[in-house]
């Protein structure tokens, strides 16, 4: 059993699960693996869902999530609650990892993944039941995205989920870079309005 030599009270796994993410991060920072496991359990589905949506390949998505979580654990990086929830922070890291993975691939592969229906192409992982609050959030974000003009939602999806740069998107759609940036900006601004009070969007703030 992992013991803590610097006075950290050892907590049972059950006791840890009642702690808020922010409290767990304090323990993670001190090297408590059990606390990290609780963080992993809480956010790995969301992290894997994002990575899988972006990478379109189960193996690559697994690598991305593994790298992301291990880097959180190893780097001792400080979670700053002023910048959003732990989930937002975890997903931000996974998003960046996935972008890196996608940009390392050849342009050919990248184009294929971003253009095809990612889910249908592969043996889809098991759908997961998400709690009601998350389902509501997902529905709101979906709706906000779908209400955008197609040209705006497309560039947002190609950028965020496809990992493409604005230059690549401009080339793909045969449009000036400025047009692409403008569509992204307009689209995000409209989504912000549709999602209402940022406090409601922000996860567990």
């Amino acid at each position: 059993m992992f013991r803590h030599s610097r006075g950290t009270p050892e907590r049972s796994a059950a006791a840890l699960t009642v702690l808020a993410d922010e409290e767990l991060m304090q323990l993670v920072y001190r090297g408590q693996a059990e606390a990290f496991e609780v963080i992993y359990d809480r956010h790995s589905d969301a992290a894997f869902s994002l990575a899988y949506r972006m990478c379109g390949q189960r193996a690559l998505a697994e690598d991305v999530v593994q790298e992301g979580f291990l880097s959180l654990w190893r780097s001792g990086a400080r979670y700053d609650r002023g910048r959003g929830s732990v989930r937002t922070w975890v997903l931000g890291i996974v998003h960046n990892r996935a972008i890196d993975a996608l940009r390392r691939r050849t342009a050919h592969d990248r184009g294929r993944v971003s253009e095809e229906g990612i889910e249908e192409r592969l043996v889809a992982p098991e759908r997961t039941d998400v709690e009601a609050a998350r389902r509501d959030e997902a529905r709101e974000v979906h709706e906000a995205l779908e209400q955008l003009p197609a040209e705006q939602s497309r560039v947002i999806e190609l950028a965020y989920f496809g990992g493409l740069t604005h230059v690549q998107i401009a080339a793909m759609l045969d449009q000036p870079v400025g047009t692409i940036k403008g569509r992204m900006r307009l689209g995000l601004a409209k989504m912000r309005m549709a999602l209402g009070d940022p406090a409601e969007v922000c996860d567990e703030c």
């Binding site: 949506r53 880097s71 780097s75 403008g182």
Partner: protein, 258 residues
């Protein structure tokens, strides 16, 4: 000639905010825009507003279960590393534990007077929000935080800091309320950058005017302004010349004080 609006500096243009929060700038553009945001309140405000939207986007992905074997792989590494870390801490707490870094005497750097910086700073090429990931690959081992009694001045407490740069080390020498940070084998902060010391009591790190660079051998000694009384941690990040009011990068040095 028509009277046109002056050409807006491309980097500083607010039209980069959306691709920035979506992760759609190239690496170079991202770095340049990160610097711009630090000095432009208008862009900073828009980044904050649109980042909330970007943070909500993962919810639009179909929600699937992470494979069980993935958890096994991740947690096997985590528990193994936790055991190693604990073993290392035990070893450092043993009587043979030797104070590290205490005698290093790098030149004291004047606050707000960073010297010309050299070196490509390869290790700092990551973007701010990529820091965690990219840095981890470079981490060889985390120095454990250990408290020992210093061998130099009576009553001096030497705190080994966590350093996220391979081979580098740092220690905090605390005597009374005063504290001095000694770093060794640190790379240069990189072109146009400087190291900044932060004080963390609880929550957000507070900036100090202690900015420093390291000498050619990678050493530096810097006082922690205001001492460490009541602090939880002393942090060091790499920041643009002149320092920042909020950290823009993940700390490279973390010294637990409390």
């Amino acid at each position: 000639m028509s009277v046109e609006k002056p050409n807006v500096e491309p980097e500083g243009c607010g039209c980069n905010v959306a691709p920035y929060v979506l992760g759609a700038l190239t690496e170079e553009e991202h770095a340049a825009f990160s610097r711009h945001v630090e000095s432009c309140a208008v862009c900073r405000e828009e980044v904050a507003a649109l980042q909330v939207v970007a943070a909500a986007l993962p919810a639009a992905a179909p929600q699937v279960s992470a494979p069980a074997e993935l958890k096994q792989r991740v947690m096997a590494s985590v528990y193994a590393e936790a055991r190693e870390r604990e073993a290392r801490e035990r070893a450092e707490e043993a009587p043979t534990a030797r104070e590290r870094g205490g005698a290093r005497g790098g030149p004291r750097q004047g606050a707000r007077r960073p010297r010309a910086l050299a070196g490509a700073g390869e290790w700092l090429r990551w973007r701010p929000n990529l820091a965690v990931g990219a840095l981890a690959a470079a981490v060889v081992a985390l120095a454990a935080v250990a408290l020992t009694t210093g061998g130099s001045a009576p009553g001096t407490r030497v705190i080994q800091a966590q350093v996220l740069v391979p081979r580098a080390s740092a220690s905090l020498r605390v005597n009374g309320g005063q504290a001095q940070l000694d770093v060794a084998d640190m790379p240069q902060a990189g072109p146009g950058r400087v190291y900044e010391v932060w004080r963390e009591r609880s929550g957000s790190p507070q900036p100090t005017d202690a900015l420093f660079t390291v000498s050619a051998d990678g050493s530096a000694t810097v006082s922690v302004p205001g001492g460490v009384a009541g602090l939880r941690e002393v942090l060091v990040t790499s920041e643009p010349l002149g320092g920042s009011r909020v950290p823009t990068r993940t700390p490279v040095i973390v010294a637990g004080v409390s």
